[in-house]
Amino acid sequence: MENDISRELIIKARNGDMKAFEEIYHLASGFVYNVALRIARRHAEAEDITQEVFIKMYSALNQFSFRSSCKTWLYRITTNTAISRCRKFGRERDLAAKYKDHLEIEAQEGPSAGPVEAKENEKIIGDMLAKLDEDQRACMVLREMEGLSYDEIADILNIPLNTVRSRLHRARETLLEFARKEKTL
């Protein structure tokens, strides 16, 4: 995996060096936050997930055995945390409509405020991701937004390669169906 966090930095953080851990945070928090945001679909929730991920990581540094890359490990903690929080606090299908309103407000006022085109794109993405279940969403986020390979996704989510394939296939079929209904195709 590209731009991985160095072994030296992890060992320093493991030995209690908070500066090293802060450096890890600055290297990794961007992708942790963005994956969390796209799976959980709310900025406040993504902040909580990011916090939870780094606290879990800090507590588990001693158990990290360097068998996988640190980035893979962090992606795994992030997706697991985000998916389980979605299931715990979710009732997602029922909240889909509420979320749509919420996202519109965030697109105007939240951290994503920017050019009109970007806001419009954010709204489209929100609507699309709301149509998928959290497992499909995690696969799509890792593939489309993080650009990871099928092997990497299978490793992170701890699922067979064919499951990655079928989740992506089903997610895209759902999105096609949604686009046809919305007449955006």
């Binding site: 908070m18 802060e22 945070y25 928090s29 961007g30 936050y33 963005n34 945001l37 796209r38 900025h43 902040e47 990011t50 916090q51 780094f54 606290i55 800090y58 507590s59 951290p111 994503s112 920017g114 970007a118 794109n121 954010e122 489209i124 993405i125 699309m128 799509m140 593939r143 489309e144 937004m145 390979s149 099928y150 394939r165 079928s166 992506l168 296939h169 895209r172 079929e173 999105l175 096609l176 686009a179 195709l185």
Partner: protein, 164 residues
């Protein structure tokens, strides 16, 4: 991934390996040749490419500035909590309940049984009645019911009398 060519399979591949460039060059050429001949599959391929475009051009969001300080505060709180001295009794309890969950479960069951037994011993019972024996009025009402049932359900008794 090796593939056989028919529209149903092609469409599955279009929505996964083909769109994601995960096919080997030979298989990709096969799909491309199918797309040249099949307008329906070609249309689907175009739609799939269009549908993932907004996701692929997503702008990365910046992490809000307060997150790192929240993490630091939480880690400090956890460290302070872990560093707090414990009494010998607390340490023993922690060892038992965290390190040996099976033993903890058995201990909890024993405590529960002892509490139930104490409660049972304190429950008032009728004077003179030994433990485990039901009182006389209850027994008589039970036998009374049996007699009534025997009177009402004497099927066959008349026929038996005739035959005998």
């Amino acid at each position: 991934m090796k593939i056989n060519m028919d529209c149903k399979q092609i469409r599955q591949i279009l929505a996964s390996d083909y769109l994601d460039n995960e096919l080997d060059p030979t298989s990709r050429n096969q799909v491309d040749r199918h797309l040249e001949k099949c307008p329906a599959c070609r249309k689907m391929s175009e739609h799939l490419a269009a549908i993932v475009l907004p996701l692929r051009r997503t702008q990365k969001q910046k992490v809000p500035p307060g997150v790192w300080s929240r993490i630091q505060t939480e880690l400090r709180r956890q460290k302070a909590h872990a560093a707090r001295p414990r009494t010998a009794f607390q340490t023993t309890l922690l060892e038992v309940f965290l390190m040996r969950p099976a033993f903890a479960a058995v201990a909890a069951a024993v405590i529960l049984i002892l509490i139930s037994a104490a409660f049972y011993m304190q429950t008032p019972r009728p004077a003179g009645a030994p433990d485990g024996v039901t009182s006389a009025p209850d027994l008589s009402s039970l036998t009374g019911n049996v007699e009534i049932r025997e009177q009402n359900t004497g099927f066959g008794s008349g026929i038996e009398q005739l035959l005998l």
